[in-house]
């Protein structure tokens, strides 16, 4: 792979650092008047999601990371692996390990497109869409007439996620949920 020098670092560039693929978040030149220049760089480790702050001598370089972000539909799980398929018409499938799936496991629904990050053709991350519609499989009976304010109760969704919902929600209803916050948005 190619190398990128500090002056080519910009947001979104994928590079290798300490053996892990990272995405550049921010690159700031620091330089006392006529002194040596350094770059303070924030990078997101794509394996762990953690943000690292590192300093480089200006002109130093990092190896490019072979990272791709693709849209894929969720197909099914055999309990061991989770299977996704490219939406580009190729029908190419990828098996994803639990580790790469992370928290997204509780937001899985067949035929929904997810953003899948590939590194050297292996899936390292799966991100759900910001909003997803899921059915309530389990919750306490709804309170008739209580459609406005006051109180909430837990509801189990078809994907396994548990969210707080208003008291009037019934089992079997389909809800719109924000996957970033895990919060109920509205009835779908």
């Amino acid at each position: 792979m190619a190398n990128y020098s500090t002056n080519e670092f910009k947001g979104g560039l994928k590079v290798m650092l300490d053996g892990d693929p990272c995405s550049i978040v921010e690159n700031e030149l620091v330089k006392p008047g006529k002194g040596q220049a350094f770059n303070r760089v924030k990078l997101r480790n794509l394996m762990t999601g953690r943000v690292w702050e590192r300093t480089f001598k200006s002109g130093d370089s990092l190896e490019a990371a072979d990272v791709l972000e693709l849209e894929m539909e969720y197909l099914y799980t055999d309990g061991d692996m989770w299977y996704f398929m490219k939406t580009d018409g190729s029908f190419e499938q990828y098996a994803v390990e639990k580790k790469a799936l992370g928290d997204t496991e509780k937001w899985l629904k067949e035929q929904v497109p997810y953003t899948v990050t590939l590194w050297n053709d292996n899936v390292i991350n799966v991100s759900p869409p910001n909003f997803i519609e899921l059915q309530v499989t389990e919750t306490d009976p709804g309170l008739k007439g209580d459609t406005a304010q006051g109180g909430s109760k837990p509801a189990v969704l078809s994907s396994g996620a548990v969210v707080k919902v208003p008291l009037f929600i019934e089992e079997g209803e389909v809800l719109k949920v924000d996957t970033r916050t895990g919060e109920y948005v509205s009835r779908a």
Binding site: L29, Q36, R54
Partner: protein, 328 residues
């Protein structure tokens, strides 16, 4: 794809900028300092190791020539001083290759002025007065007179080391550890620059203006040296002024010795060869002017875009420039 043609500063900000520039001109006019305009191009350029110069291939009466875009108006202004100009100031477009970021732009406005016969202490006062004048009416509370900090003391207080005497390998270890990078091949100044940038600078000027003095002799550039009263160590007769963690100005008790100046240029180019950096043509006309004689005095260069950024409460220099480098 959408083309980002719009200015990086909004029009209201450009109006404010014009108003502040007028205030700078009034400040110097009131003090009898002459405004000058010197060329952006020169036959010589800055030889400094850590300044990368741009050049232009030009056709002149002398034929095809390489002319250097000036990294500051210093050389031309010193030739005016030698020619008897008296005190002068300039709002000079200056160029430094590779320097683009929140605090840097490839081309920027340097406010530079020279005061024949004036010592460094008086120049520090004048620089603070200028900064207060520009910031004054924006920040209800002016920053006031500057706090003075010795370079050595700052390192002692912040990092518990003496930057002049700590052995190089210990300094490399500390810099490498604080910066999280390998500094084993770095020289003393590179280690000190890193620690200054990461550990000290961000805290400077948080409660008003702060001025750092008595830099290591190796970081003197075009300044004279003097002896540190503490133990006779050679220190550079220069200062840097900080406000809100930003380095604003760099002042010197100017070197007027032509031989010393020529030796420093040669040394710079030797260092450049060793580091496989391109050499820069030495400004022979500046050296000739120094041989003729430049009056003793002090001079200071101030990054005007940063000062305007602070005055207007902006987050980057791009926000106070019509078109920052990425959109130029």
């Amino acid at each position: 794809m959408e083309v980002d043609w719009q200015p990086t500063a909004d029009i209201a900000t450009l109006r404010e900028r014009a108003r502040l520039l007028a205030r700078v001109r009034a400040f110097f006019s009131d003090r009898g300092v002459l405004e000058v305009d010197t060329p952006v191009l020169g036959h010589g350029g800055s030889t400094e190791m850590h300044l990368a110069s741009l050049f232009a291939e030009a056709t002149t009466p002398a034929g095809h020539e390489r002319l250097w875009l000036q990294t500051s108006p210093e050389f031309h202004m010193k030739r005016l001083l030698a020619a008897g100009s008296g005190p002068i100031f300039q709002l000079a477009r200056s160029f430094r290759d590779g320097e683009v970021g929140r605090r840097h732009n490839l081309e920027f406005t340097m406010l530079e002025w020279y005061r024949p016969g004036l010592g460094l202490d008086a120049l520090i006062e004048e620089t603070a007065a200028l900064v207060n004048t520009v910031l004054g009416q924006e920040l209800g509370d002016k920053p006031g007179p500057p706090q003075r900090r010795r370079y050595r003391e700052l390192f002692r207080q912040t990092l518990a080391i003496d930057p002049f005497t700590l052995p190089l390998d210990a300094l490399r270890r500390l810099a490498g550890q604080r910066g999280g990078l390998d500094m084993t091949d770095s020289d003393r100044d590179a280690c000190l620059d890193l620690l200054m940038s990461l550990e000290i600078e961000p805290h400077l000027g948080r409660d008003g203006l702060e001025v750092v003095v008595d830099y290591p002799a190796s970081q003197a550039a075009l300044a004279r040296h003097h002896r540190d009263p503490e133990d006779g160590a050679r220190v550079a007769s220069r200062f840097e002024l900080y406000f809100e963690g930003l380095e604003l100005a760099n002042g010197y008790d100017e070197l007027t010795d032509a031989d010393e100046q020529a030796a420093r240029f040669e040394q710079d180019n030797a260092d450049r060869r060793a580091a496989r950096l391109p050499e820069v043509d030495v400004d022979a006309r500046l050296l000739a002017a120094l041989v003729h004689g430049m009056p003793e005095g002090s001079g200071v260069a101030l990054g005007l875009d940063r000062l305007i950024q602070l005055a207007l409460g902006k987050q980057s220099v791009a926000e106070v420039m019509a078109f920052a480098t990425p959109r130029c």
